[in-house]
Amino acid sequence: MNIIYFDNNATTQVDPIVLEAMLPYLQEYYGNPSSMHSFGGQVSKAIQAARSQLASLLGAEDSEIVFTSCGTEGNNTAIRAALAAQPDRDRIITTQVEHACVLNVCKQLEKQGYTVTYLSVDRHGQIDLTELEAALTGSTALVTTMYANNETGVVFPIEEIGALAKSYGAAFHVDAVQAVGKLPLNLKTSTIDLLTLSGHKLHAPKGVGALYVRRGFRFRPLLLGGHQERGRRAGTENVAGIVALGKAAELAQQHFQSTTLEQQLRDRLEQGLLATISDCQVNGHPTQRLPNTTNIGFKYIEGEAILLSLNQYGVCASSGSACTSGSLEPSHVLRAMGIPYTILHGSIRFSLSRYTTAAEVDRVLELMPPIIERLRAISPFNSD
């Protein structure tokens, strides 16, 4: 069966050009980049080249890039590093709609004595800067927020957030896992101290990510050991993954305009669904949103049932985030937005990529109405 992949916020296809770039490092160039011999040295050069490619996408310096194994490691590392850098401050500000790998670290830190403020969001998923300002104090060590939300695509005003954080001397970390490659970034002129990204969200493979650490930021590594990544992340490097991430960053820069096309297709999908199916709504902000994401709630029915129905036709979509999809809880993001129960459970996310075609969008527009109709016919609430 042909797959129609509308789940690009969960993970993306490795670009064939990326695969081609990484392959030699799974074949003849297998040396250890830390080795003395030139066989290892050439591998070390490939890592440096990837570092430059990624730095260029972010508007950062090469030395500000630390390669990691995933977004989760990046977020865990960044939060702990920021706190270690300011042992005299004991407050953290984040939002209610962060990814589990930020929220769970924060919960753990609360047990260790930190006070964490979880900023609320409005019904469009947007935070309120006055709430942030009210929460900031001289003992705020860290403000950590996403750039773009994985479930709704809602984009936070990171520079405004950062400016406020800075005015209280707090470190500012941004989880940009969903944003890198989709939204512009120029870290040189930014308020961001630490920024997390993950390769598999931008057409590099799973198992590689990076952390941007502003030059001069007092950093403490999470993984201790050898001198890799200038002592900021020990462990033999995922060389092929790093080379892939570098190439993916270069391609993201080249394809940047294609996000406009993605957005057109996303809008066509979104408007098509709203037009042909009754009792549904977009969960998220009308304009402050990733170009590739739409989260739509269908009244009276349940998300998993919709997903499994789509699955029958090879259409991949999701509810909640991939890594909590095993859980039975409705999305914490949609709950924080105050989405009514009638819609909460029936919300699903379609996330597009540069590979998405108009034909795929049209196919989903054709499949969805009968699926929703069938499930509503089974539901006891439909007729109420």
Binding site: I301, E302, A305, S309, P330, H345, A377, I378, P380
Partner: protein, 159 residues
């Protein structure tokens, strides 16, 4: 991803006995429904029974379900299981039998079959005019926040 059996998927895609049963004016026949869950919880089941008053037998059973794949398949399975049974016999149908009929359910989804058993109880007790005793959800962590099933309850019902 949930590991659903073919039977679960079949009853999800082609559910048997879906819908309501219209009120019946015929003498000797009663129509009743029982309901559990709510839209707030994310799962709800309305089970409709058509009962032959003299023999106490279930002539027809239909369901309306708001819920996940397992909930829909379990509801459908339940209606298949109880058609033709006397009410007393139907009350003995356990959620495990529902799960077995489906060729098994993923562990985390076992509670979806509990809902069927409860809706059946609700319908029969309503028909018999018995007040339903509400199980005290004393100890036990909530594992299905959607409609308040505790781990204890699942064990109690499943084993």
């Amino acid at each position: 991803m949930w590991d659903y059996t073919d039977k679960v998927l079949d009853l999800f895609y082609n559910p048997k006995n879906q819908g309501a049963i219209a009120p019946c004016e015929e003498p000797g026949i009663a129509v009743v429904f029982g309901e559990v869950g709510s839209i707030a919880c994310g799962d709800a089941l309305r089970l409709h029974l058509q009962i032959d008053i003299a023999s106490d037998k279930i002539l027809d059973a239909r369901f309306q379900t708001f819920g996940c794949t397992s909930a829909i398949a379990s509801s459908s399975a339940l209606t298949e299981l109880i058609k033709g049974l006397t009410l007393d016999a139907a009350l003995h149908v356990t959620n495990k039998e529902i799960a077995d009929y489906l060729g098994g359910l993923p562990e985390a989804k076992m509670h979806c079959s509990v809902m069927g058993q409860e809706a059946l109880e609700a319908a029969i007790y309503k028909y018999r005019g018995i007040e339903i005793e509400h199980h005290e959800e004393d100890e036990g962590a909530l594992i299905c926040a959607c409609y308040g099933v505790s781990e204890n309850k699942i064990r109690r019902v499943a084993i």
